[in-house]
Symmetry: C2
């Protein structure tokens, strides 16, 4: 294993990317001839809905492949996405302010670019961490300063002073976070989102709220359209926000790279002199479409827009219950956690204030205070792959577990057996 | 008309973007109840090939929508794109070095970003103009300096000193141009491409060669795979290059936003200390995939990759003659030019050295030395829409004509009739 790690140019396992971990595991699988238990991938583990596929094929048959999509999206997509947000998030964002993107990755990247050009000298981005490793990389590519706030230390009322410390110098232009959080599945409470929203207004900072896992806090039933409880959002507490929604997880439609940015109507209309001077266009929303999305990719796949539009329409009208489909992830998480607990592991990020975190797509696991890199190293020796919390910019010790690849009883049995091996290995080491 | 222009916030018609011209025309059509002759859109005017559509539907049926595409592209796409380049451009680029992108727009944007981060302090981009307006906007978004070289003044041997003047200070990192050129349909000759290539090597500048209109210089038959004459390319004269190919025009597949970057293998392998320091990855190609494409969109539509892959395979094996399909544009251009000539117009960019430019997707038209904005204004009064050469960063006077919307005899008759009105208007004015 040391040879393989050296061959992959990995000096510090705690900082290895998902891709590096995958490649290492693949090589070890090749050498040993045995399959690993894969807990590292954050890929959908469910099938794409047939209604989406059928609509995409219909659109192709109708000849849409030959025609450029409007950069701001096809009208039915914008309409249905607006209704979808209204039905499940419970806020009103008009169709004009909803723009389809090449996954929420493109939404976040282009929004970040625009946010960093609104005011001279404001080039810092605040990240509520731990988080999605690619989000930090976006800042690095754009030459922006990433300011990291580990949520572990500042839940509830502690959040306000911690955030203000990062905002007070007026250099921050945006704050990025996922809710539910990747990798901890911690969910910011309404109280916490209110703090974020108030501070965004106070310091004129834009909240970029990643809803990759929308409605996947399964502790309460969020499956009924136009009925509370809604997906929590900062959008109830400030006008300075944009939501980023992706079809990848909520509709298991990752292959077609489709999602959208839903921009607060007040922000969409807001005029910025710096944008006017640079691009001849004042409004935030017009620049997002005509400048940033346009020169980035000239919009996104037209047939995928039709597919996602149809899935949103079916969800809004109650024909398709996307939340119920996703409960499978919660069942897998529950079962996997039980196995980890049985072998003496513990949840690292375990609470939303006084409540246990939800079962969901990801959770975080530690073992008797072992450093993340040593823990991952020994787990890999026993045939289990994951990524460390360090790679997600957490200052806690442990690993991130994704349940999407745990597809069968056999996978859970393999996890149980290998964690047994791991525990045995630890007792041998300590002897 | 003046009211409509004022309402659209258009003060200088010569600088109006395509979108602004379209919106103005739409409003004028609404008011007058009469349809314009549309010469402004650069959209495909042909149907998407059935083989592409069929393969895309097959891929969707196979369940690919649920699975993230590999960031570097699916293997069959990479393989077929490599063969496609070999068959029609006549150079060898291995599949590893070919990466599908969300149209060539994304290819150019991400390549520009990477090129501007290779060396400290090299933030200028040279554009051979006139050109595609969005290309200049990409530089503006990235904060790069655009250096414009109007090809009108420096064809042939004059190209070398003109380019060296822009390169000599060592600040340029890339040169961007389309071949055939949008909007003039001028084609750089092998001699001129050799000059560009030699200078790219001498000054360590990367040529980003836009092949949106690949094989659409119809003066010679470029339709036979693996047979000369090939599409001319700078790739025969330097290792510092990347090709940008789009399915939008050559396969009339603009709706699905699919294309690719084909990076010179030597450039793909080249290690840059600045990249290593910033991203922990040295090689140009690895960074393009794992850093720039990844954080921009995590790859592109998987089903569209299958579609384009199939169309390229069919072209390479001779089952589908994409060049023959596109000859329709040349026929339309020939007929449209004859009508313009009949009414006293002239081609502005008329020659490739001693040869007439090819008939193709675009051409450039002037009238008795009239300034572009006055010409466009009077053409719009007569129900003809286009964009000025000024908007394409040309210093010549005239308009750009795109033939894609001239679909029927009726369209040509309308053009003829309205140019007649225009000539009458001019004689009235001069009386």
């Amino acid at each position: 294993m040391d040879d393989v790690l050296a061959g992959m140019d990995i000096k510090d396992l705690s900082r290895a990317t998902i891709r590096q971990c995958v490649n290492t595991t693949r090589e070890l699988e090749r050498i040993s001839g045995e399959k690993f238990v894969h807990l590292e991938f954050g890929v959908p583990g469910l099938k794409a809905p047939q209604i989406g596929i059928d609509m995409q094929k219909l659109a192709l048959d109708a000849g849409i492949a030959a025609v450029y999509p409007p950069t701001g999206g096809i009208p039915e997509f914008k309409w249905n996405a607006s209704a979808f947000i209204n039905a499940f998030v419970g806020i009103g964002i008009s169709p004009e302010c909803v723009i389809p993107t090449v996954g929420s990755m493109q939404a976040c990247f282009t929004l970040l670019m625009e946010c960093s050009q609104l005011h001279e000298g404001r080039k810092a981005v605040i990240y509520i961490s731990p988080g999605f490793p690619s989000h930090y990389l976006q800042s690095k590519v754009l030459g922006l300063e990433a300011r990291i706030l580990d949520i572990y230390h500042c839940r509830g009322k502690k959040l306000r002073p911690a955030l203000e410390e990062l905002m007070a110098d007026g250099k921050a232009c945006a704050i990025v976070y996922s809710n539910p959080n990747n990798p901890t599945w911690a969910c910011l409470t309404e109280e916490e989102l209110k703090i974020v929203g108030n501070l965004c207004t106070k310091y004129d900072i834009i909240a970029l709220e990643d809803m990759a896992y929308m409605c996947m806090d399964f502790r309460r039933d969020r499956s009924v359209p136009f009925s509370p409880p809604y997906q929590p959002t900062v959008g109830r507490y400030t006008d300075n926000f944009a939501l980023m929604v992706s079809a990848s997880k909520i509709f298991s439609y990752a292959g077609e790279r489709i999602g959208f940015a839903a921009i607060s109507p007040k922000l969409y209309e807001r005029e910025y002199p710096a944008l006017k001077e640079r691009y001849g266009i004042s409004r935030f929303g017009d620049n997002f479409v005509l400048t940033f999305i346009y020169i980035n990719s000239s919009g996104c796949s037209r047939s995928a827009q039709n597919a996602m539009s149809e899935m949103m329409e079916a969800s809004v009208s109650g024909k398709y219950d996307f939340v119920d489909e996703l409960r499978e992830y919660a069942r897998r998480a529950h079962r996997a956690k039980e196995i980890f607990y049985k072998h003496g592991f513990n949840l690292v990020y375990d609470k939303d204030l006084d409540q246990d975190v939800s079962d969901g797509f990801f959770f975080t696991i530690g073992y008797e205070g072992m450093p993340g890199s040593a823990l991952l190293y020994d787990l890999m020796r026993c045939g289990i792959c994951a990524i460390t919390l360090t790679a997600t910019r957490s200052d806690q010790q442990g690993i991130r577990v994704c349940v999407s690849m745990l597809n069968s009883d056999k996978d859970f049995e393999a996890l149980d057996e290998r964690l047994g091996l791991f525990v045995k290995l630890q007792s041998e080491v300590s002897e």
